[in-house]
């Protein structure tokens, strides 16, 4: 009873504080200021992104260029989550609890209908192509490495739930993931060696709205896309195959 009261008081205080604070922030008001003489961060980004970097999608410019180091940390967090998930759910074959495994594998062994299987087979390559399109055009259209990677992972999820025997090639996945991560860091070190600061973009940027523009930004987003796709696929694979693999 006392716990309920304390929780209610806490929630009421939080809601009231948020409401009072937010009531002084008008919605839809222009807080950016002039773009030509930028005084806010947003105006600086909106000014630099099309004029200096030649990147059409300002959000990509912010995520990959202005806050590139932040994105490197974000990708590492995702990698740590995948590693932690694998190490927490990993178990040796002898420490199996029989009833649990039988329960899970019974459901996994039910074959999905041939309608689902045929549909998945047709949709799978199209989903992969859409994901690759999204992360290659990350600097031109909405989307980018994270979104494209998530789309590719949904394609693998479709195959994993449609075919009970479907397995991703672990060696290829690990190599792709490691190479993509190393590629991201390698681009950063390239900037450090050549221009004097980590993840520094090249001076050459091309034209606005060209596929090859923005210097190193498309390259970094392709690495991020591959890394996110393999990591999410690994997470889904681990969660769906709690039954350990036979060595």
């Amino acid at each position: 009873m006392l716990k309920k009261l304390i929780v209610f008081l806490l929630i009421a205080t939080l809601g009231y504080t948020l409401a009072v604070t937010l009531s002084s922030i008008p919605i839809g008001k222009n807080r950016i200021g002039s773009i030509e003489n930028p005084e806010t961060v947003a105006a600086y980004y909106l000014d630099k992104s099309p004029n200096d970097l030649k990147v059409a999608n300002t959000i990509t410019a912010v995520v990959v260029n202005f806050r590139g180091f932040d994105t490197l940390g974000e990708v590492s967090v995702l990698f740590l989550a995948a590693t932690g998930l694998a190490s927490i759910l990993y178990r040796k074959e002898e420490e199996e609890e029989e009833e649990n495994i039988r329960h899970i594998s019974h459901r996994l062994n039910l074959p999905s209908s041939s309608l689902v299987q045929t549909g998945a087979k047709i949709l799978f390559p199209l989903i992969i192509v859409l994901g690759i399109y999204v992360f290659i055009h990350g600097h031109l259209t909405p989307g980018g490495g994270f979104q494209g990677g998530a789309i590719i992972a949904t394609g693998f999820l479709l195959m994993l739930v449609s075919y009970k025997g479907f397995e991703t090639n672990h060696k290829v996945m690990v190599w792709l993931e490691s190479l993509a991560g190393l590629g991201f860091v390698g681009v950063g070190v390239f900037g450090l060696v050549k221009y004097g600061s980590f993840l520094q973009n090249t001076g050459w940027t091309g034209n606005l709205n060209d596929l090859i523009s923005g210097g190193l930004i498309p390259l970094i987003y392709i690495f991020v896309g591959i890394k996110v796709a393999t990591e999410l696929t690994n997470i889904l694979d681990i969660l769906l195959n709690i039954k350990p693999r036979k060595k």
Binding site: L14, A19, P26, P50, V63
Partner: protein, 130 residues
């Protein structure tokens, strides 16, 4: 036929209450689930609901009346004055990924706890109590 901007500015009070109210409600509901629910999966769902509320709040604060997405398309290279704030959107992109990582890790811990104790009720997970 009124365009979206005039409609937005005429109903600004309702929209403010609706958007901020939804965000605050999501945060409060998520916190309630985290603090009061007994089932571990429900607690993880509460964390995700809180995440959604915070993302909505970020994007709402960055919105500018009549603004477009901060993407320059051919023919509108000088449209920066009519664009919404790109910074909250980039931060929400980061926050979504981190939220996903947190949810995945928390769910794996729930699975492990359930396998070990055969229950996901926090009242019965009392082996660390003294």
């Amino acid at each position: 036929m009124m365009d979206f901007q005039t409609l937005f500015e005429q109903n600004i009070e309702i929209i403010t209450i609706a958007v901020y109210g939804t965000a605050i409600a999501l945060i409060v509901i998520g916190l309630y689930a985290v603090l009061m629910k007994k089932h571990l999966v429900k607690i993880v769902i509460g964390l995700s609901i809180m995440d959604a509320g915070i993302h909505l709040l970020f994007v709402a604060v960055g919105y500018i009346s009549g603004g477009t997405a901060p993407i320059f398309s051919p023919g509108s290279e000088n449209a920066a004055t009519t664009m919404v704030d790109p910074v909250p959107q980039a931060l929400v992109l980061t926050a979504i990924v981190i939220g996903f990582a947190v949810t995945a890790l928390a769910l794996s811990l729930v699975i492990r706890l359930y396998k070990h104790h055969h229950t996901a009720n926090i009242d019965q997970l009392n082996s660390l109590k003294w």
